[in-house]
Amino acid sequence: MKQLPGFRSTGVTIQNNKKEQMKILKSVSLLLVTAFSFTTIKAQTADEIVNKHVEAIGGTENWKKVNSMIMTGTMSVQGMNLDVITTVLHNKGSRQDVNAMGMNNYQILTPTEGWNFFPIQGQQAPEAMTADDVKDGQSNLDAQGSLVDYKAKGHSVELIGKEEIDGTECHKLKLTLKSGKSETYFIDAKTFYVLRVVSVKKANGQEAELSTTLSNYQKLPEGVVVAMSISVPFGPGVNFDYSISKVEINKAIDESIFKPAK
């Protein structure tokens, strides 16, 4: 049974009406109270919501065991398919390889450096990222996601309230990362999965908003639940979709991949 805001206020109106209706009202309001008891529970705190979220995606314990993650999938837009492999070694490096018709493009990020190499755009050699971009991308090095054990990681969370995202009621949380960067999380009020993350990229005196929608959550043998579909708006009715077919957890990763090829 879902929340029905209209009913409760109607009940209030009646209570304010004539006294002779009180008797019937009593039974009605009893029913109302039963029916809506779970909507009247006290407001949840940011911590409660984060805890429920982490529980929903497999629990802190399972996530804290995650040291590396390799996600294999395809990105597609309007019939164009690109093979994408994302590799994260917890707090050491992340690398995204995008294969477009035989051309390998990549982005590498470490705690101190980063490189972009997109020959598909005519680039002929890897280019170092700016210090701002490196700083901005640091949350990508967290293989466990920023919300798992967030306090220990030096992040803070503020509950903004509830907001409807694409018709689904969500808790809106503002996560301020240790680096000072903030991200807004919309957590589905029913499933406690993250439905959307909105971040503002600030670099070189400029700001750009990035909105990422997550779905197709699946439980892996390691006990963690991950979104297998990541979607970024690309235009009216068109999304840039990253559909993940395979996730490997804690596979050994050679750290040399976090340096650009010579």
Partner: protein
């Protein structure tokens, strides 16, 4: 008893009923395009900048919310779209510049001013807002944070305009907005208009009170409640300041303090001798200074006075025009129009305190900035906050939008243009305040427009000529009373009929050249409401804005031109069913349904399905009643049913019935757009990418595109694209878990409005409409896992799509193409062909939608556009066939190059490992021959930009030319295909020849060395 019973029923049935409910979120995926324009903007009410960075700006508007720039005005984003759009004042806590206070409800108290609902606060630079009190003040003129104590905030609230109220005065919070105390209260008639803090001593405050009132037919500024006050104990006690000021009563008083020398104050005091007054002793004594009319005129509307943050002699008076003084206010100069005209009527000024040459002024037509202390100005052409009153559309392709704006004339623009509709696509066709603007239904060059008070003209858009067509009083007529916003209407049934009205209704069948009066005075003709010449209060203000007892709305029945409905601004609702011979007033009947009697009848919508059915909206806000009044009559106005909804906010401007589904209704109010899909029983707020509380003045549904076109009073024209999903998703559809919605054939198209130059001028761009029909579906609940695939009639996969998974209506764009060909590897970049797939042929396609593992299918018919004479079905067949040939050629070349690459890498491997010199030479020789050959097919990797043209690019170029257009391939394109085909065949042949020449020798040599590698042979057969 009945009520309780219905609650019980609802409760028991709750679950199913609820889930089938169609509400605000159902249609959240419908697109809205903000057409602006930015070429004329709208009224700006306040500008606040972050002192420490000089580039973060907050712009408050009269009806378009708040716009934030983080780059000194290069771009702006709306940041207040979920709240009231009328902004009174903005204040930044400069010590914590992420903290921003916004007082809603503008205080430039003109006739069309909107209201607010209190004070809002953000602590994260406007990302999130919370309401923090003062809900009933309606109008807030200033918010100030104590520069020395962030916890102390002052709010000056003139308060409600149309009625007495206790919710006005000067409010103070000492806990950063959590709680409020009234520290200066005058009366239910007088609020506080201005406040200043001495920046060097926060205990010293100056405030001015203001008594004012509007009635629907009069305005008064001034009274015993107006005064000038000073406090030296942070607002605990006040004394009235009068020494040297004019004799009371005052009207509105604007004050300014010199931040760098706060003993110096300036005041513009509206009174019997309105003037500029200067004090050099902290307001204790004042001296009048002679000043030009720009300094002193219309004080109720122009209340801005500012002093340079560093230079106490530099005084600014943004008013009708922009004046500045360099000698402490003794003399003023006016800004130059060099480099661009500055829109008149100024209400806001922000001066960058760290570089006082830089300033931003807010006018009735947008924001301008100056880099030379206000002497010259440049327009910010990227703020789409125009205040339209009405909108019309025509049937051209693309259709055009016509509309009139507050203070900004009448304009026309196409709804689509290459690169998107930008400022340059808009054409001004008439001046003044613009209202009704219509295209002539029979002549695309002709439009009708007007300025305030019924000054209407017929305009030749092409020639730029116009003819006055305002109906004149005949002998025996009373003096004509034209509303500020005089109706000009084209017949809904007979489009040759043109109507206009004063207190009488006029009809013309020759485009306004000649008129026939077809009614008596249809108003109440109450003489007490017709004393407009006395309007204004202390300062005369007669602008036609208060004209009353006039006809405000006219509607001809779409089913019968003899039925005409007329609504007046004083409560009459009348109809004729004999083209004006006799009239029936049904005012008493709607009043019987619970709608106040004297309301403005703001719109009338006779049904397109039943001549007895009529919808109407009623606006009573000028009597202090902001409720939403809308009703329907199904018996020619005899009885009325008032529409009720908890969702409603704001007084009603417009109700619109869909022309396809009679149960689909739209309503625009001062605070939102609402829709009903069940004939008005249930309403919901439209939030489909719209500001939730947009001031929606007028609504049209364009017939070819099914676009909902909105005239908003603060966000320009907004087009909600294609509302047909709202016709199709009824309660039956909404009860299903998944419903595929493409029930009609889809016309094949590659889209329109490509091209266009990048937006070099940085102006506002309304974007492009979707010209390819999307695939549409409904989901009762958000899907965790969703896939969509398109199959052709043979069951072959055509394309995999990326569908959205939201609850409610969804759409996904299928480009009506399959997948692009594989192109040969090599060179620096990918060929264009690798990005472009051929368009599919007409026919049946199966859409497979997999939601959480369950498959749903629908067959969609794609059809050829038979109306396109330039691209016949035969043309399409040839184009498709040629495209397929070229597609195959791209892939054949790719296979060939792959095979060469494979051989080369095999050769390379053995070259590196062999120790036999002869073998090495042989392998190298083959490799070299292949390399030489390969580089005739694909370009080499080179340093620099671009690629050399080789066979791959030749095939790609021919392919993209053919499949990228809706046209028959040309003779030379066809010949080119044949030639390239030969070339490709030769290349395949050449590879064979090289193979023959080397294969055996190479295999033997390698096998001799490494006999245990039989796979070599296998590989080389590729």
């Amino acid at each position: 008893m009945k009520k309780i019973f219905s609650i019980l029923i609802l409760l028991l049935a709750g679950n199913t009923l609820l889930q089938a409910q169609i509400n605000s979120s159902t249609f959240g995926m419908m697109e809205a395009r903000y057409m602006g324009p930015g070429t004329m903007s709208g009224r700006i009410t306040d500008i606040a900048g972050v002192n420490s960075d000089g580039k973060t700006l907050y712009i408050g508007t009269a009806g378009g919310g708040i716009w934030k720039s983080t780059n000194a005005g290069a771009s702006f984003k709306p940041i207040f779209d979920k709240y009231i759009q009328s902004i009174g004042a903005i204040a930044i806590d400069q010590k914590n510049p992420k903290t921003v206070y916004v007082g809603t409800g503008e205080s430039n108290m003109r006739n069309s001013v909107s209201i607010g609902d209190g004070l809002y606060k953000s602590t994260d630079g406007g990302d999130n807002w919370t309401k923090t009190g003062l809900d009933s003040t309606e109008h807030i003129s200033k918010v100030m944070v104590d520069p020395n104590n962030s916890s102390v905030v002052y709010v000056a609230a003139p308060g409600p305009l149309w009625n007495n109220s206790k919710h006005r005065g000067l409010y103070k919070s000492t806990d950063a907005g959590k709680t409020w105390e009234t520290i200066l209260y005058i009366s239910e008639k007088a609020g506080v208009a201005d406040v200043e803090i001495d920046p060097t001593n926060s205990n010293v405050l100056y405030a001015t009170s203001w008594e004012f009132r509007r009635l629907p037919y009069a305005f008064n500024s001034g009274g015993t409640g107006s005064g000038f006050y000073k406090s030296t104990d942070a607002g605990k006690t006040w004394k009235e300041v009068s020494n040297g000021l004019p004799k009371k009563p005052f009207g509105r008083v604007a004050i300014a303090i010199a931040p760098s020398a706060p003993q110096n104050l300036w005041a513009i005091v509206e009174s019997e001798s309105t003037g500029l007054y200067i004090s050099a002793d902290g307001g204790e004594t004042w001296k009048q200074q002679s000043a030009t009319s720009n300094i002193t005129q219309r004080p109720f509307y122009f209340s801005t006075l500012e002093v340079d943050p560093k230079d106490p002699k530099r005084v600014y008076r943004p008013a009708f025009s922009f004046s500045y003084s360099s000698d402490g206010g003794y003399s003023f100069a006016d800004a130059s129009n060099e480099g661009g005209w500055v829109h008149s009527d100024h209400h806001a000024l922000w001066i960058n305190p760290n570089n006082t040459n830089i300033m931003y002024v807010g006018t009735d037509g947008g924001v301008y900035f100056s880099l030379d202390r206000g002497a010259t100005w440049k327009f910010c052409n990227n703020l789409p906050v125009g205040q339209f009153y009405h909108v019309s559309t025509d049937n051209q392709q693309p259709y055009r939008m016509y509309g009139g704006l507050q203070d900004n004339g009448s304009w026309v623009a196409p709804s689509a243009a290459p690169g998107g509709v930008s400022n340059g696509n808009w054409q001004a066709i008439f001046g003044g305040d613009g209202f009704w603007t219509h295209p002539d239904p029979f002549d695309a060059d002709i439009a009708y427009a007007e300025y305030q008070g019924g000054n209407m003209q017929r305009i030749n858009i092409k020639q730029g000529t116009s003819i006055a067509i305002q109906p004149q009083a005949a002998a025996g007529d009373e003096k004509l009373r034209y509303n500020w916003n005089t109706p000009i209407v084209i017949g809904a049934k007979n489009k040759r009929n043109l109507y206009a009205a004063a207190q009488y209704l006029y009809k013309s069948t020759d485009r306004g050249a000649n008129w026939v009066k077809i009614s008596p005075d249809l108003t109440t003709n109450d003489k007490r409401k017709q004393e407009q010449e006395k309007s204004g209060g202390l300062s005369m203000d007669v602008t036609s804005a208060e004209n009353h007892c006039t006809i405000f709305t006219i509607a001809e029945s779409p089913l019968d031109e003899n039925i005409i409905w007329v609504g007046t601004d004083d409560g009459n609702l009348q109809y004729t069913n004999d083209a004006g011979k006799t009239w029936t007033n049904v005012a008493a009947n709607y009043a019987a349904a619970g709608i106040p009697k004297q309301t403005w009848v703001s719109s009338i919508e006779p049904s397109q399905f039943d001549a007895n059915v009529v919808y109407a909206t009623f606006d009573n806000h000028m009597y202090g009643d902001h409720q939403t009044y809308m009703a329907v009559s199904r018996d020619m106005g005899k009885t009325w049913k008032k529409f009720e909804s908890k969702e409603f906010t704001g007084f009603a401007h417009k109700i619109k019935e869909d022309f396809v589904n009679k149960n689909l209704l739209f309503a625009g109010t001062e605070m939102g757009l609402f829709a009903s899909v069940d004939g008005g029983n249930e309403w919901f707020r439209m939030k489909s990418n719209l500001p939730w509380y947009a001031l929606v003045r007028d609504i049209k549904i364009q017939e070819q595109t099914n676009d909902l076109v909105l005239a908003t009073h603060g966000r320009g024209i907004i087009i909600v694209e294609d509302i047909s999903p709202m016709r199709n998703i009824n309660s039956t559809v909404a009860a299903q878990d998944v419903a595929l919605l493409n029930n009609k054939p889809i016309t094949l198209t590659m889209g329109k409005y490509a091209g266009g130059f990048p937006n070099a001028s940085g102006d506002w761009n309304g974007g492009l409409p979707s010209t390819i029909t999307p695939l549409q579906y409904y989901l009762k609940e958000r899907a965790n896992n969703i896939l969509m695939e398109v199959y052709d009639k043979d069951g072959k996969l055509v394309q995999k799509l990326s569908p959205s998974n939201r609850k409610g209506y969804n759409k996904v764009m299928w480009n009506q193409r399959s997948n692009p060909p594989k192109t040969a590897k090599g060179g620096n970049q990918m060929e264009q062909a690798g990005f472009l797939a051929p368009q599919v042929m007409p026919g049946d396609y199966t859409i497979k939608l997999k939601v959480n593992g369950k498959e749903h299918t629908q067959t969609v018919k794609l059809v050829h556009d038979a109306t396109n004479k330039d691209f016949t079905m035969q043309d399409r067949e040839l184009q498709y066939k040629t495209g397929q040939e070229l597609f195959a050629m791209n892939e054949r070349l790719a296979t060939l190059v792959d095979s060469i690459n494979t051989t080369q890498s095999m050769l390379k491997k053995h070259m590196d490992s062999t120790k036999n010199k002869k073998t090495k030479t042989l392998l190298q020789d083959y490799w070299n021959k292949l390399e030489e050959f390969r580089l005739t097919l694909v370009p080499p990797v080179m340093k620099g930009t671009g690629d050399l043209k080789r066979l791959r690019s030749d095939i790609s170029d021919a392919y993209t030319a053919v499949v990228g257009q809706e046209a028959k391939p040309s003779n030379l394109q066809l010949q080119r295909v044949a030639a390239l085909k030969t070339e490709l065949s030769k290349a395949v042949q050449k590879n064979q020849e090289l193979k023959q020449q080397f294969e055996k020798k190479v295999t033997d040599a390698i096998n001799k060395e490494m006999p245990k590698r039989p796979e070599v042979n296998k590989q080389m057969k590729n």
